[in-house]
């Protein structure tokens, strides 16, 4: 499985940055939308999906959890793919965690332990 160049960082020309900052830049919580404009190329699309499939979500100034900025830039097919990828990743994460918790569960627990019960 591991080739001789496994230790090399993925190199090549740096692609443009994916929008995906810590906070949602005024985006509505949860982020319902009709499907954003498709990104430029397959590489961009792949990075958007990979970013949106992660568990980190920023908060707005009121503390509401925000949709990932990359999610807004995906079309419907990309969003469906991000959902499926997240589902599989969370299963892997839970399997690798001593308490069976995915990064989603860890993020929720961190917020609970930080804020207590409202």
């Amino acid at each position: 499985m591991s080739g001789p160049h496994e230790d090399d960082e993925v190199t090549g020309q740096e692609p443009p940055e994916v929008p995906g900052g810590a906070e949602g830049a005024g985006a509505p919580p949860g982020g319902a939308g009709g499907g954003g404009a498709p990104p430029e190329g397959d590489g961009d699309r792949e990075r958007l999906i990979e970013a949106a499939a992660g568990a980190f979500r920023g908060r707005d100034p009121d503390g509401n959890i925000q949709a990932h900025p990359a999610w807004y830039d995906l079309d419907e097919a990309g969003r469906a793919e991000a959902y499926e990828r997240a589902r599989a990743l969370r299963a892997v994460e839970a399997a690798l965690d001593p308490e069976g918790l995915s990064t989603t569960a860890r993020a929720v627990l961190a917020r609970i332990l930080g804020a207590g019960r409202r």
Binding site: P29, E50, A67, V92, A95, R111
Partner: protein, 197 residues
């Protein structure tokens, strides 16, 4: 793939959760999260399920002290399904992205709620995934470990900077890690490998 069909009753944690035991809620989360996510599948192209799911789970924690079990298994889980569903519907209404057929939505959700219930962990699957993770080397191993260690509490940009990478390089390495894991799992006939690839 190794499937575990045995349904759990996560209400065994209910009393401790109601008393504010976050560790008990963690055990509830471990069982409930996959099925709750599954129950939101039909919303995935209109709503960022990850964000809404996390909000729903926080609300489950908040309502748990006032929740009265109805005598059927997984009563708190079913509350979670309803909370998640309502959050999704709120998002659709607020964004006015498409007309919502309430009756059709109710039927779909009822079917999903009935069909999606928590199942137990699979120890054999865990061992295979751990063995595949241990075969990762270099940057792909680093970025996977970074996301796991962050526990969803830090954005990829911060993790990338910590590893001395640009955000896009971080994501490229994560893609590589994911595909290597998927190949390894597929070699072990784990269905998750295909879903991950």
């Amino acid at each position: 793939m190794m499937e575990v069909d045995a349904m759990l009753d996560l209400d065994v944690h209910l009393q401790a959760i109601a008393e504010g035991d976050a560790a008990a809620f963690g055990r509830w989360l471990a069982g409930a999260e996959p099925s709750l996510r599954e129950s939101m599948r039909s919303f995935a192209v209109r709503v960022d399920v990850e964000a809404v799911l996390q909000e729903a789970l926080l609300r489950v924690w908040q309502v748990a002290p006032r929740h009265a079990a109805d005598g059927r298994p997984n009563s708190l889980f079913r509350v979670g399904v309803r909370i998640a569903r309502n959050l999704c519907v709120d998002e659709l209404r607020r964004a006015r992205v498409a007309p919502v057929d309430e009756e059709a939505l109710e039927r779909a959700l009822a079917a999903e709620e009935a069909g999606v219930m928590p199942a137990g962990p699979d120890p054999l699957l865990r061992r295979v995934i751990e063995a595949c993770r241990e075969k990762l080397r270099g940057k792909p191993a680093e970025v996977l470990e970074a996301r796991l260690a962050a526990g969803g509490a830090e954005p990829d940009e911060v993790l990338a900077e910590r590893l001395g990478m640009r955000a896009n390089t971080f994501l490229q390495n994560f893609t590589r890690a994911r595909k290597l894991l998927a190949e390894c799992l597929e070699r072990h006939n784990v269905d998750l490998g295909a879903e991950l690839s």
